[in-house]
Structures are given as C-alpha cells and as structure tokens.
C-alpha cells in the first residue's frame, strides 16, 4: 500500500483500457503510454495490462505504507527512493516507510508508477481505468489527491528479481522526421475534402502541442487545415488518435478520454502503434506526422509486439537465473 503525500492533480489509475462498452457511450480511457505501462508490469511479473498510476504533473510523492516492489517507467526524470536516484524503466523493492519522489521529466511527459500485482482497485465494466466523465473506475472515479491510499495486489517482499531495468521504447522504437518526434497517420474519410495545400502542409510542417492538451485531446498549432467546402458530419464512433478539424483549421487529436463519438470532419488517425509517442509528447513540443498505409500500420503494431515479447522473454530468463547477492 502507498499513500500520496504530495499535493497532486490529474494523476489517475489507468490500465490498458476499457473495451466492450463503447455501445453505452463509455470510451476506453487507459494509459496514454501503453508501452510504458506494459514494461512496468512486465518488470514486476504482473499481467501486462495491470493497473498503475499515470502521473502527468510533478513533483509527485508517495510513501510506502508496506513493503512493496514497484517500477517507474515512462518519461525519464528525477526519480528518487529515500533520496537515492532511481534509473528509468527500473524495478525496485521498497520497504515500509520509504518515500518515492518523482520530479520533472527531462524528456517525455508521463510517468507510470507500477506496483507488484497491479494497483488493487475494483474493476468496473471490465477495467480498472478511471472514467473521469462518468466518475467511475480507477480510484473512486477521480484523479488522485493528497492523502489517498492505494493498495497493491501483491505487497511484501518481491519473489522475483528486482533492481534491474530495460531499454526503453524511445530507444528501441525511435521514430523521427527531420529531428522531430514523429507519428504515423492513416488518412480518414474526409481527407480528400481538405484543400491540397492544407494536406501537403499537414505532412510537411512541424506541429506544436499547445497548452490545451490533455487526456481528452491534444490541440495542435500550425498552418490551418482548410476544407474545400463546409462539412456537416453525422455523429459516429471514434477511437483515440482520430484527428478532427473543427472550424478554424487547428486540428484536435482525440486522446484516451475523448468522447467515443464525434461529428467533426476527420483528417486522419494517428495509428494505434504510435499513440504512446503522443502520450509522451510534452506540451509545447513539436511533432511531425508521417503518412502511412494500413499494412504499414499493422507492421508497426507487430514491431511493438516484438519488442514487448523480447523484453518479456529476457525478464523470464533473468527470473530463472540463480540469484546472485548484491
């Protein structure tokens, strides 16, 4: 069990997401960087999609009320346990009373605190992700506050190895365009309905992630994307990654807490395999978009899967190795 000891906002319990309830108007929620979540869980021997705490604002401090193994993944920054620096994408054993402090990241934007066995909150509609609009799921359906206590499903001393880490997704799956982090996008239904100059600018320009960007959506700033003619779109289901272009031409990328349906013209969709890159793009940073095809999008999913499987396999080998004392 841990206790939140810093004043905090916007930190939520998230797992891999809530599927199967789109038909009730319930979006998926889930971790903005699902790879960081998966790695943290694999390091702890948890199911890959177990719930963790997503931390978007810093500093963030917790005290371990019980012995518990934990992993800190995602954005690399100043993380310490009782003042001792913690390496990125690392698993460690915490003892009762120790304080974990997560400071501002030097790269990336979201940090994941994973606990042994996963964060133990009741699943709602099949998931432990926080559904903020509906005020359910996660920890009491809301963002975490100072004083909140969260249980781990497997507290105590870790049976598996601790004090090791893995090569991060940013290293293993790096993608840049002209030195700027890039994401692949598949054109959507209304793509051809935007003027050609706008379409070309979308692929050629850097886009800035503005301050009005969060789990609901990322508002981008750049050359306005203009339609050839006004469009009224019927409401339809959407998924995280859909790039909507409202009046004014500044695109909004729907993210994990977006409405699961929308009626604005769609330019394209950031592919599922690259959503984690967006999840780690800090406010104020620039990104680029790369046009890709459906088969390429599936290949990208395969690349992610291969990386996770490789990591899982090495961690298993490490578990089996006769333990050496430190």
């Amino acid at each position: 069990m841990i206790e939140i000891i810093s004043a905090t906002a916007l930190a939520t319990v998230q797992d891999a997401g809530r599927s199967g309830s789109l038909g009730y108007g319930v979006g998926t929620s889930g971790a903005m960087d699902h790879l960081a979540l998966a790695i943290g869980n694999l390091l702890l021997g948890n199911p890959e999609g177990a719930a963790a705490i997503e931390i978007p604002l810093f500093p963030f401090e917790v005290r371990f009320v019980q012995d518990c193994a934990f992993a800190v993944t995602g954005a690399a920054g100043e993380a310490t346990l009782d003042g001792q620096p913690l390496l990125p994408f690392w698993v460690l054993q915490a003892r009762e009373g120790q304080v974990l402090s997560v400071g501002y990241p030097t790269s990336g934007s979201r940090v994941y605190l994973c606990l042994a066995g996963g964060v133990d909150v009741p699943p709602v509609l099949g998931s432990r992700s926080t559904q903020l609009r509906g005020e359910f799921g996660g920890f009491e359906g809301r963002a975490l506050q100072q004083g909140d206590r969260l249980a781990a499903a497997r507290p105590g001393l870790s049976e598996g190895p601790v004090d090791f880490g893995v090569i991060s997704p940013s290293q293993a799956l790096a993608l840049h365009c002209d030195g700027v982090p890039a994401m692949r996008v598949l054109p959507a239904a209304e793509y051809e309905c935007f003027v050609e100059d706008s379409r070309n600018a979308f692929w050629a320009d850097d886009w800035k992630i503005t301050g009005q960007s969060n789990r609901y959506g990322y508002r981008l700033e750049g050359t306005p994307i203009l339609p050839s003619a006004p469009m009224e779109i019927r409401s339809h289901g959407i998924v995280p990654g859909v790039i909507q272009v409202p009046h004014g031409g500044q695109p909004i990328i729907q993210m994990r807490d977006a409405q699961p349906s929308g009626g604005y013209p769609k330019f394209g969709t950031v592919i599922e395999a690259d959503l984690w890159r967006l999840g780690q793009a800090p406010v104020g940073s620039k990104v680029r978009f790369i046009q890709c095809s459906y088969p390429e999008a599936l290949d990208a999913l395969d690349d992610n899967r291969r990386y996770l499987e490789q990591v899982a396999r090495l961690i298993d080998l490490h578990r089996m190795a006769p333990r050496q004392g430190h």
Partner: protein, 132 residues
Amino acid sequence: MSNEEIRQLAQWLSEARLGGVELQRPGMQLVLKRHLESVAAEESSDLPTNANQVPIRTCGLGQLLLSHPDQPQVLIAEDNHVDKGQIVALLQVGELLLPVHSPQAGHISRVLLQHGATVGYGEAIMQLEVAS
C-alpha cells in the same frame, strides 16, 4: 556448474549476441563459442596490488554501459565519491539492463573500460579507492 546453468548461459550468450565466453573456476574450465568467429574473453589487465585499491567487477556478461541510454550524464566518473551499493555502471544483455554496484564506499580511481565494451563474468571494470 549444472547442465541447466550451462544451457542458460548459452541462451544468455545468444540473447546478448556475444560470440563466446571462457570461465575458469577451481576444478573447472568452460569454453562456450557460437558459430561466429570466436571472441576471446579479455584478459584482466594488471591491477595494482595496493590494499586500498579494490576492483569493481561485473557479476554477469554483456555490454558495459557507463551511462543509462535515456540519460545524458555518466553514472559515475573518475575521482567521484561513491557510496556502498551505488550503481556505477550497467550491463546490457539484449534489452535488459543490469546494475553494477560499488562493493564499498570510496572514490573511483580508474575507469578501466570504455562505454560499449563487451565484458565477461567477474571482469574488473573500475578501480575503487577505499579509505584505509
């Protein structure tokens, strides 16, 4: 060393994409080579026998990293003070990163190998000067 441990060692070699390893223990010598040109394990360089100088050794094989791939700064540099147990380097085996801890408190007097060097079991990577 059991057959299971040898099998596991061979698997580690394959994951780490290393050519081979030589191990010497009392009463045993083990040489493992892959179907690549064999890579001889490095001989330990001559180290001073000064009682205050303690070698920091690896407890595994892999690629030596002097900084974490996600961080710009080195973990430790020559003349830096280290606490007992402090991580001074990392061993990369495939995507895995294993810590090399300082066995005692002291100062790093020498960094013996370069970032990226292939290292074997029990290889000295740094020299630690301990208080007498």
